[in-house]
Symmetry: C2
Subunit: 178 residues, 2 copies
């Protein structure tokens, strides 16, 4: 529940209510998709149900009623555990390239597989050009540059995998379609 953990992190700066948390998230992650309000309040409800946050106040101060939340000790623990735990990066389980390659092989055979790999390769290189341009833009923020670097290196990793798969396509086909 990454959404929830981000909210816990934002709440560690002090008690806040949903509207502010949404704004805080969108400011902290400008390139990410803005959080929908429904998502924020649903996540807050779940966090409260799990005892990680609690209502700090319900007040009406020049506007609609607002419910302010704060971290509980359990929430602080949860945040700390999440921050100390290493993220597990995409493993084989969610390797979308291999998934699609295998489906292409069983559904259409080696030619279909090769077609997919080549198309995917050119789509990736096109995206890499875009990211390189983003990086080089004069007004790029550091966050944007880091985001582009991240995307570039992962796209590059994908392309190398694609080339490898293309080179061994015959072997792969034999292993996947018995």
């Amino acid at each position: 529940m990454s959404t929830g953990h981000v909210l816990l992190g934002l709440l560690s700066r002090g008690q806040q209510h949903g509207y502010d948390l949404k704004a805080g998230h969108d400011a902290l992650f400008p390139s990410a998709r803005p959080m929908a309000y429904g998502q924020v309040y649903a996540a807050l409800t779940r966090l409260r149900d799990r005892g990680l946050i609690e209502e700090a106040a319900v007040e009406r101060a020049g506007g609609p009623e607002r419910t302010t939340y704060r971290l509980t000790p359990a929430g602080r623990d949860e945040l700390e555990v999440w921050m100390s735990a290493a993220e597990h990066p995409p493993s084989e389980v969610n390797n979308p390239l291999a998934t699609k390659l295998n489906v292409a092989l069983v559904a259409g055979g080696p030619d279909e597989g090769a077609l997919f790999l080549r198309r995917q390769r050119s789509a990736h290189t096109a995206r890499m050009r875009d990211h390189t341009q983003t990086k080089r833009a004069a007004d790029a923020t550091l966050t944007q540059v880091l985001a582009a670097d991240y995307a570039l290196s992962h796209l590059d990793a994908d392309v190398r995998w694609i080339d490898d798969a293309l080179a061994r396509l015959g072997e792969i086909t034999r292993e996947v379609t018995p």
Copy 2:
């Protein structure tokens, strides 16, 4: 709906029922998490509601009743569209490292951020050693080798990003926590 597309791909080999599809998936993706039955049948129902598959037969042949499904023309189209479309790889939106780094910075400051990056780096290098061993195992299948290669190159991409972020941590902190 990747699950659905995989099922469409499996069905393109000919009509099958849910139980076989689950087995077919698990055989095609041995390292992926096995599909739960509930997941398979729910996905089949959705595909049928969308007109991508249809009931081919309902029979009882030495066992419980079984419903066999086959692709419709619309399903064949959908499969083809999915196979021709390039996969969008993880963009900045779901960069778990940057997410966690930012949360660490706002919740704990630069020291907390550096701690996370260093912990993450060593976790990654440990996993890289594991994958390298998997690759070198005498009985490794090609699928397993490719999976390990995929994981290794993405872990390597992450590590390079981490090193970059560590080097620029001061700048990042200033940009993220105003």
